[in-house]
Amino acid sequence: MKTVLLLVLCAVVAAACAFVGAVLRGRNKRLLLGRMHGIGSSLSEEFGISVLCSGVGTPECIEALLKSEYTRFEAVVVLDAAGASEAFARLTARYRMIRVEWRGSQEFPEIVVRSLWRSRRRSCRRLVLVDRPQGPEFAPADDWNAAAAVAAYDYLLPVDGRTCLLPDAVTRLVAELGEHPYGTVAWVRSYVGAAVSLVAREAVLAAGGFGADWRRGIGRRNRIGLWEPLAYRTDRPHAAKRCRYATWGLGLLVVGGLAAAATATASGRWTLAAVPVTAAVVAGAVLRARQAVMRVAGGRCISIWECKKSLLKNSQYRGI
């Protein structure tokens, strides 16, 4: 029994160390890519990315999307002009959108799109607005399918109304795609921060759209996982306060774990001491990883578990 417990504790510590190592490597790579100006500028034109937005109606989020310096990039925003008429009117007025012609897509024939709009402002040429009826059984996956039907590029990045991309997320994804031969990467996801996935258009098409579990058809060799944040959640009003409490809590856990272990070892109970000291290692690792993630996110409070939580809690995000 004692041997099994020791092995389990060793495995936990090894996992914590590997996690911190991966997050720190991700941070260092992100900082390095921040110095490489060629990737994000017009010089790199190898890969195109279409960001598919469902439920994103606030100008702040849309402008955050349009800030990207990468040229082969577009933001396709899906809204219901009938259901959210005010937001729709506000957007069309703000970005001087005009209605353009659109014919039904061959790739997603069942998708209903009322109209397609583009901006006349030169600075917002990369913004596309899709007017689509969103019924009572609304699911973001349907919006993403509609946006994918009008998207122009080979890689799709679906985001929902509660997720905001970090300013350098697109550049980071392009750099990751650029490291591999063309067409070999079908899915890039981040294990840290809000749930975001970059998917090859063909992989989504092969699965019949975002509603189905499109991940099954993608081979392990075609998947890439990043240990750095690409997006953050906007629906957390007390994120900063929570973040502070979490930091203090983890700090206390480290100190408490070490103190408890010291007490147990003083009385010669080494087996008992191993458990709190493992807790202290895990808490210390999480604390260090949080710090690195926040540095990458420009000081924003990003929970490193958001990705997993959103997957478990909400079935409509299944597949992202």
Binding site: N28, E101, G178
Partner: protein, 314 residues
């Protein structure tokens, strides 16, 4: 026996937990310094540099608090930042500053001390500093690093130190350049380090040089290179290069109704053909061109793309 293992484990884990705690505190202190003192000092150094560059450029300026912890790194970054964003700058004064304050030695020392991406970061800064020949020799071992970013930035350092041998060095680079690395080389080109003559690059046997040549053709819209691009498309030995050449032709909006292009397209798989159709629609090609290049079964797809395409209507 197991008790002894527990003792060893507990001690090691306690050391690890203390290490993490020290790391957290250290990172917090660094972060506070970075947003406080470092930010002010960086602005100050940049201001001093700009004033010196705007002056007669004969005297090496004095930088306040130089010699304090981290100040040398800040000055390196300030000089590298100025070099990275200015084109056609006479680097005489910057060269004297680098030599006077021994900034290149500092970055070399940091590259030697660090590993992985941090080493690549040091080399990236070094690549922007006007340094002497000895630096190129010092970074040569990093050209064989396992980390592709370290390898590439070591190459970038050598290119910036000795631009006259830039093409030879890229040709000798033993690893295939990625799309982002080619983009970085194009940024170096804009700084005036690489020659703009695309012809010799396209004629060479080195795939890396050909890729750089293709990037130049694409970036500067050189229509005269059409013949060479068609040769690449026809070359079956390097299909990836042919694909890049085809996309370059597309971005130049040249006529694609050529035998080489038609043959290449018939050998593409359905996924690549659809991607090419989307690119062609984006570049404004007419359905008649697509009709002659693609099969009848693909007609509804490209007609939908062209007729509903947003670009032509905005």
């Amino acid at each position: 026996m197991i008790e002894q293992f527990y003792i060893v484990y507990t001690l090691c884990a306690a050391v690890l937990a203390c290490g993490f705690s020290v790391g957290v505190v250290g990172a917090a202190v660094r972060e506070r310094r970075r947003t406080g003192r470092d930010a002010r000092l960086r602005t100050e150094y940049l201001h001093t540099l700009m004033l010196a560059l705007g002056g007669d450029g004969t005297q090496v300026p004095y930088f306040p608090l130089f010699g304090r912890f981290g100040s040398r790194r800040l000055l390196c970054e300030a000089v590298a930042g100025v070099v990275a964003i200015t084109y056609g700058l006479n680097d005489g004064l910057l060269r004297r500053i680098v030599a006077h304050y021994r900034l290149d030695r500092r970055m070399l020392r940091q590259a030697r001390r660090c590993r992985g991406y941090r080493r690549a970061q040091a080399l990236a800064v070094l690549a922007c500093l006007p340094a002497d020949e000895s630096v190129a020799a010092a970074v040569a071992p990093y050209l064989r690093s396992r980390n592709r970013y370290v390898r590439f930035h070591a190459l970038a350092v050598q290119l910036s130190v000795d631009p006259s041998h830039a093409l030879q060095r890229i040709g000798d680079y033993a690893y295939p350049l990625s799309a982002s690395e080619v983009a970085e080389l194009m940024a170096l080109l804009r700084r005036g380090i690489l020659p703009l003559a695309y012809g010799p690059l396209l004629e060479t046997r080195s795939l890396n040089l050909r890729r750089v040549g293709l990037a130049i053709v694409r970036q500067f819209g050189i229509e005269e290179a059409e013949g060479r691009l068609l040769q690449f498309v026809a070359d079956t030995a390097h299909p990836a290069l042919g694909r890049e050449a085809l996309y370059a032709l597309c971005s130049l909006r040249r006529s694609l109704l050529r035998r080489e292009v038609a043959v290449f397209i018939t050998e593409m798989d359905a996924r690549e053909r659809r991607a090419l159709l989307r690119c062609m629609a984006l570049e404004g090609y007419a359905p008649t061109t697509m009709q002659r290049l693609f099969e009848e079964a693909e007609r509804p797809y490209y007609e939908t793309l062209v007729q509903s395409y947003k670009r032509s209507l905005a």
